[in-house]
């Protein structure tokens, strides 16, 4: 019979390290394509370093990466397929065990087995969107915006 205390400090720190690693790759890729936005990269790195202790810091790091990627897309330094990969990296960072608040029973393989399908689906969706965005159909962009917004709103309502 266990006393009512937390007994997973070692596992928690490993999860935080894994999350920090994914965050570093995420920010490095974003800044690599858009060097102009390096201050946001530094701020994101600082936030990612604090993510193990403060969950909101992880969100800020993801937002920083999103901002850098947005600048890159707007300035044309970040190609859309690379933006799709960057978006998937940001998602992977947010799904890392240290941030998700749902520790895994096994090691990294277990995480890849559980999150892999979701990340694959996310990457596929991003690539498809990139393909659609590059298509030269007059009404396609706004149709895509409305469609994705409708799906997002439906998901928010369903989540309660």
């Amino acid at each position: 019979m266990r006393r009512g205390t937390w007994r997973g400090r070692g596992a928690a720190s490993r999860a935080a390290l894994a999350g920090a690693g994914i965050g570093a790759v995420m920010l490095a890729c974003a800044v690599g394509y858009t060097p102009v936005a390096w201050p946001a990269g530094v701020a994101g790195a600082a936030a990612a370093a604090l993510a193990g202790r403060w969950a909101a810091a992880g969100t800020l790091a993801a937002c920083a990466a999103m901002l850098i990627a947005g600048i890159g897309i707007a300035s044309g330094t970040l190609p859309l397929p690379a933006a799709a990969a960057e978006g998937t990296l940001i998602l992977a960072y947010l799904l890392s065990p240290g941030l998700a608040g749902a520790p895994l029973s096994g090691g990294p393989l277990s995480w890849i087995r559980e999150r892999g399908p979701v990340l694959a689906a996310a990457l596929a969706a991003a690539l498809l969107t990139a393909l659609a965005a590059e298509a030269t159909l007059p009404a396609a962009p706004w149709l895509a915006v409305i469609g994705v917004a409708a799906v997002g709103a439906a998901l928010l309502v369903a989540a309660g």
């Binding site: 009512g4 749902a102 895994l104 979701v118 990340l119 965005a133």
Partner: protein, 429 residues
């Protein structure tokens, strides 16, 4: 194990994903740039894939091996929780009233096993009947949803801790029941009471030969009778003031429990009456079972609000036997309790009042009128005590035993010691 339906809701992690995903979506709409949709697409896809809420239940078993204890003792609460589906974590949280204090934070189980066994020692800080709740939270794999369910703890009974009472105050006139207390009347005890001339029927072994040879006629030793006392502890439940755990009612109930334990151990008959609406009582009895009967009955003293004056005439005669020593534990703040004490004294019962009020009103600020009001209040209390003493009802203070054993507060022994050598008399005034 009890199967509980979980109420599922999105976690903060789900909302975080949705928020981060919405940012590029909004940027695309506001700025009219479809390229940003590429950043939003992974989040929309991930939420779409994982947005199905888990529908499984949880099995919970709550065990309290010993549901009864005395104030200050520990009760062990054991909880086993298990998710019926693939869960990332199971957490259990114990919610208890202030009278019970659990040591240790919320317990969590991690991993795919999705099961948790935890136990908490819970310290009972205040007498009464208490409940509690165990909340089980199951986090789904991925951490997007959490399911919660609540199960009630079995009712825990905490008996008052009786203060020690080694010297017993007795009524001046003991009843004719065989007991351990030496009476003034002659009888068949073992204590020497005097010498008198021999009378027909006296036992030959009681002849005092030295006195007989000096006086020239037969004389016998006279022995004192040994009788049991009848004690009725009365609890004033009309008023309950003071900090939680040390209220006047807390002290009164502990005092009554101390009286019950000490006198039942001495072989006396003890009963209890709770001045409340309706009046509640336990007829006098003896033995350790009677102590627990009294302790069980006083647990209901708390939480009744009433404006009805108690009619002591409705109490059956066996509950309040003639000549019984009445010990009233009261803060003397309610006229109904004071009236009950004078009523009992008028009926010829020896009555002692143990004043359980340990706090005094705090005047707002340090104004002169506040200090004057406090002074008047204290004078009124003194006048009340004097009036009761003049009616033949002695008043003693019983502020309660110190919790750490090192305080200066008076004990129940100290409160009743003055009546040990000078028994309280009843009868007509």
């Amino acid at each position: 194990m009890t199967e509980l339906d979980l109420t599922w809701s999105a976690t903060a992690h789900y909302r975080r994903l949705a928020t981060v995903g919405l940012l590029p979506l909004l940027a695309a709409v506001v700025l009219g740039y479809p390229g940003y949709l590429v950043l939003a697409a992974p989040f929309v896809a991930a939420l779409a894939v994982a947005s199905r809420r888990p529908g499984y239940a949880a099995r919970v078993r709550v065990q309290v091996p010993d549901e009864r204890c005395v104030e200050g003792e520990d009760i062990l609460v054991q909880v086993s929780a298990e998710a019926d589906g693939p869960a990332a974590a199971v957490a259990v949280r114990l919610a208890l009233p202030a009278a019970l204090q659990a040591s240790g934070p919320a317990a969590r189980a991690q991993g795919g096993g999705a099961a948790l066994e935890a136990s908490w020692p819970v310290t009972a800080r205040r007498w009464g009947r208490w409940g509690g709740q165990v909340t089980v939270s199951v986090t789904s794999r991925g951490g997007l949803f959490t399911g919660t369910a609540t199960v009630s703890l079995p009712q825990l009974t905490v008996y008052p801790r009786p203060p020690s009472l080694s010297q017993l105050a007795l009524p001046a006139d003991l009843r004719s029941r065989i007991g351990d207390h030496v009476d003034r009347r002659p009888g068949e005890g073992v204590e020497f009471a005097g010498i008198r001339p021999f009378a027909a029927g006296d036992r030959l072994r009681r002849i005092n030969w030295p006195v007989t040879s000096r006086r020239g006629s037969l004389h016998v030793n006279q022995l004192a009778a040994e009788h049991a006392a009848e004690i009725v502890a009365v609890i004033d439940a009309f008023t309950d003031v003071g900090p939680p755990g040390e209220t006047t009612l807390d002290r009164a109930v502990r005092g009554a429990a101390g009286v019950a334990r000490a006198y039942t151990r001495a072989g006396d008959r003890v009963g209890v009456i709770t001045l409340d609406a309706p009046l509640r009582w336990v007829p006098p009895g003896t033995g350790p079972v009677q102590f627990f009967r009294i302790a069980e009955s006083v647990l209901d003293a708390r939480g009744h609000e009433s404006y009805v004056s108690p009619d002591l005439g409705r109490i059956p005669r066996p509950v309040l036997p003639p000549g019984a020593l009445v010990i009233l534990f009261s803060p003397l703040l309610d006229e109904r309790a004071i009236g009950a004490a004078t009523d009992l004294r008028d009926r010829g019962y020896p009555v002692i009042i143990a004043d359980v009020l340990a706090t005094r009103p705090q005047p707002p600020g340090r104004s002169a009128s506040g200090s004057l009001a406090l002074r008047i209040w204290q004078l009124e209390r003194q006048a009340l005590r004097y009036r009761l003493e003049s009616l033949g009802i002695p008043v003693t203070g019983f502020p309660g035993e110190p919790r750490d054993g090192a305080g200066t507060a008076r004990t129940l022994d100290g409160a009743l010691s003055r009546f040990v050598r000078r028994p309280v008399r009843g009868g007509a005034r």
